[in-house]
Each structure stands twice: as structure tokens, then as C-alpha cells.
Symmetry: C2
Subunit: 265 residues, 2 copies
């Protein structure tokens, strides 16, 4: 299961019933929060998202519509007695901001917050089942995109064939890893005969607020789905550039050039 829930995708000025940027990526039993505009915690409640499952938060840049909801979310985690660690990946100055807010309010947390300042492009998480990398995008201030990649999954056992060849359960793990099976008589049963390939691993790229720039294309190549901002329509290309945003056509161009399967705008 690899899914995206858009909690907000409005431009900076909130309108009633539109919300600033925040999205939750579901990858099996993990939830990732990307950006956390004001009101994100109310949106999490509205969508009944189990916030205790969020262990990693990624912030693309320090314009308020992308993180003014974070201090309140962290405070609520504390009030809800969260105990397990939380990991925040964000531009460095956010650390100073959070430290100032929470020392002023004399706020203490019953859980540990690990803060990782984004510094160079590349892997920021490399777990057994997924990896996350960050890359620079081009905005008025320091701004980052993120790619979450599922790792290659083991092959699946074809249970009918397993029964047919009478293979014991103890050997399933080896089969999942692609090994052939050798019977007691020395007969080789090819792996493809008793397993089927897993679905190809998926990946999702979030390109934060950015001006159109083909330099990001090679970082996105073959990602399954990208979310690319588009604040303006094609006829406002100049205004988009002057404000470090993109148009819809430009977002589609990036997706085409990178051979991306799906584009969310």
C-alpha cells in the first residue's frame, strides 16, 4: 500500500475550506508527513489519520504556509502523551525556531525529537523497506523536494505450485529471495515455477514550491508519481517565474521529460 492524502494544497493565502500545504504519504504501516501548513492537525483529525503512526516529518522550506502548523502539531503530540521518537527533516533554521517557541512557552515533550537539517542532496533515510532522498528545487528561499522509494519487494509464493511440489515452509524465505529449490532427489525446480514477481517498487516525489527548472528532471527519472506545484496557468508564465512558482504546463513538461507515470498538480 503506497498512497498520498493531500491535506492542503492551497497557495499561501488560506480561504475558507482550502488549506495550506500538507500531505500524508502512506507506505504500508508507515505514515510520512510532508509540509505542515497552519491547520494541518485539524485536517489530520478530519481525515481520521492516525497521527501516532507519523514518525517522519519533512519540511520543504520555511515559508509559513508550509510549516506554521508544525509547532501546534508537536505540542499536541505531547499532550496526547506520545512516547516514541519523532524525526524531522527540514531546513536548518527550523531548529532554532522550534527551540525558541518551546523554550518561551516552557513546553517539554514526553518523546524525543530528532532534527536533521537538510544540507546536501541525496539519501536522508535508508531503511530496510524504503528510502528517502532530498534534492534542491528553485524557490525564493532554500527549498527542497523529497523522493520516497519503496525498496524491491521479495517474490511471492505461488501456493498451489508449492503444494504441488510439496515444498516445506522452512524453504519459503529462500524462494522469496529468488533461489531455486532442489528436491531430495536433486531435481532443480526453477524459482519462476513456484513464485511470481512482486509488483515493481513504487516511488513518489514531492517537488516543493519551485520555478520551472529542467535541472530537477534527472533526479525524478522514472519516479512512479510526482507532485509538482503549479500556482499559475500557462498564460501567466512570466508572473510565475517572477514569484518563483510554476505553471501547469511547465509541471507537465517536467513529468514528461522525467518519464514519470503519474503527475499530481
Amino acid at each position: 500500500m503506497f498512497g498520498v492524502t493531500i491535506l492542503g494544497n492551497n497557495s499561501a493565502l488560506p480561504a475558507y475550506d482550502r488549506h495550506p500545504t500538507a500531505q500524508v504519504i502512506t507506505l504500508n504501516d508507515q505514515l510520512f508527513l510532508i509540509d505542515c501548513g497552519e491547520g494541518t492537525q485539524m485536517q489530520l483529525s478530519k481525515y481520521r489519520i492516525r497521527r501516532s503512526k507519523i514518525n517522519h516529518i519533512f519540511i520543504s522550506h520555511l515559508h509559513g504556509d508550509h510549516y506554521f502548523g508544525l509547532p501546534g502539531l508537536l505540542t499536541s503530540f505531547g499532550l496526547m502523551s506520545r512516547e516514541h521518537d519523532l524525526h524531522i527533516h527540514a531546513p536548518g533554521p527550523l531548529k532554532q525556531i522550534l527551540d525558541l517557541l518551546f523554550s518561551t512557552g516552557d513546553t517539554k515533550f514526553p518523546f524525543t525529537i530528532h532534527f536533521y537539517p537538510l544540507q546536501k542532496e541525496g539519501a536522508i533515510i535508508d531503511d530496510d523497506k524504503f528510502s528517502v532522498e532530498c534534492f534542491r528545487v528553485y524557490h525564493r528561499i532554500e527549498c527542497w523536494g523529497f523522493i520516497i522509494r519503496e525498496k524491491k519487494k521479495p517474490r511471492k509464493i505461488d501456493i498451489d505450485r508449492i503444494v504441488h511440489y510439496n515444498i516445506p515452509a522452512v524453504d519459503y524465505e529462500k524462494l522469496k529471495q529468488g533461489e531455486d529449490y532442489i528436491t531430495e532427489n536433486g531435481e532443480v525446480i526453477k524459482n519462476e515455477t513456484v513464485t511470481v514477481p512482486a509488483l515493481p517498487p513504487k516511488s513518489y516525489a514531492f517537488c516543493g514550491d519551485t520555478i520551472y527548472n529542467e535541472k530537477i528532471v534527472h533526479k525524478l527519472s522514472n519516479v512512479t508519481m510526482i507532485y509538482h506545484e503549479t500556482t499559475y496557468l500557462k498564460n501567466l508564465e512570466e508572473r510565475a517565474a517572477s514569484r518563483f512558482h510554476s505553471t501547469t504546463t511547465q509541471a507537465a513538461n517536467i513529468a514528461l521529460l522525467a518519464n514519470v507515470k503519474k503527475l499530481l498538480i
Copy 2:
């Protein structure tokens, strides 16, 4: 017209469709915002409150549920091209917080923000038509209450009587100020004969988060309406005290002792 719109009165942990503290006081054509929890700007939109009429913002204390909505509101004022000055009255450290947030985001405002750190009890605004004073309440961190007082209004002209005595319009202003009218023949027409008293001036006190403390009573004496926090019911008096909050009965006691006409809890 002197009214209060409660935009949020939840305790710190937001629930769906409950909102952290914020309230708008309407005094004729002036709007005052007291506290500005996360999501206040969305609530202003929902209640269709003309935010451009807000010129004074008061922040009681620097726990997030009372001000995490302020940075976003200020940003939106800027995006909406507000040009007239804004006055913020709040505990001193808020200035440093706002400066850090906005310098990090490279955010500039098309209007001037005047920041007034709350330092001692007493008048913080003394205008022709209203005054505002602040007083200390007793919470875990520095915390303030506010009293907004309408000034004594001029007497009202009784138009039927004015016509009867044939008094020219040029003299109305003096009558409103309580002067008697002297006719060309030297006859004195007592002010009470041709005017009626205005409604007595009203006042509103906001007591921020506070432990029960009768010291605040004398500051509230004869205020028309107070808003006093109550986080707990009577049977949880001990817990209320340990967390620097009050119970409902305690809030009512304060109102009774201060001879307050109405209590909002």
C-alpha cells in the same frame, strides 16, 4: 455596539470542529482580536469577519494554543495588501519570535507592525472612544488579562423637544455634552429637558488562563462582562490548581466578588 465573537475556546488540544483560543471584540467600528490560536484566520473567514477592521491584537501569553495562528494571520494581512498600521500588545518575547520567523522566510510586510511589550499593569491604550488596560493573571508562564472599556458617551438629543424649543443645530454638540440652553430671551432650558442620557458605557474583561486568585477581583470590579477561563469542573479543583487553570465554580466566584453583570465561561 459592543459585542464578543468567540472564534475558539478549546483547551490546548484541538479536536475536530473545536478551535484554540481567539475572540473578536466589536466596539462600534473597531475590532479587537484577543489571542490568536492556530486556525484563527480560517475562523475569521468562516464567521465573515472583516479582518481589515482589526487594528489591535492582544496576546495573553505565549502558550501555542493562544498565538500559533498569529504568524499566519500577519502573513495573510500582507498577501491581502493591507496598508494601514497594526498594533500588537503581547508578552515581550513574541517580538523576537516574529522577527525570527519572518527573517527566516524573507517575509516583508506592506504595512507597519507596532509591537508593545506588556510590562506593567494599567492603561495600554487611551483613545477618545475607548481604553484598554492589562493586568497580570496567574499561570505557569507570564500571562495577562485585558479590560476594554467604552468611554462615557455624550447625551442624546431628544429631537421632539428640540423642535418644541426651536433650538438651532449649531447648539446640539453643547447639549450632548450636558450644557443647558439659553434662549435669546435669556430663558434657561435645563439640559435634562431636551436630552436623554446615553446608555452607560460598557466594559469587557478577558482573563487569560489563570489559576483561581482573588487578587484579580479588584481589577474587575463593576466590569459589565468578563470572560474567565474554566478548564475543569468543581470536582477537579486540585488538578486545576496544579495545572494553573480554574474550575467553573471558581470563575463564578470571581465574577460575584467583582460585582460583574455577566460571566462568559
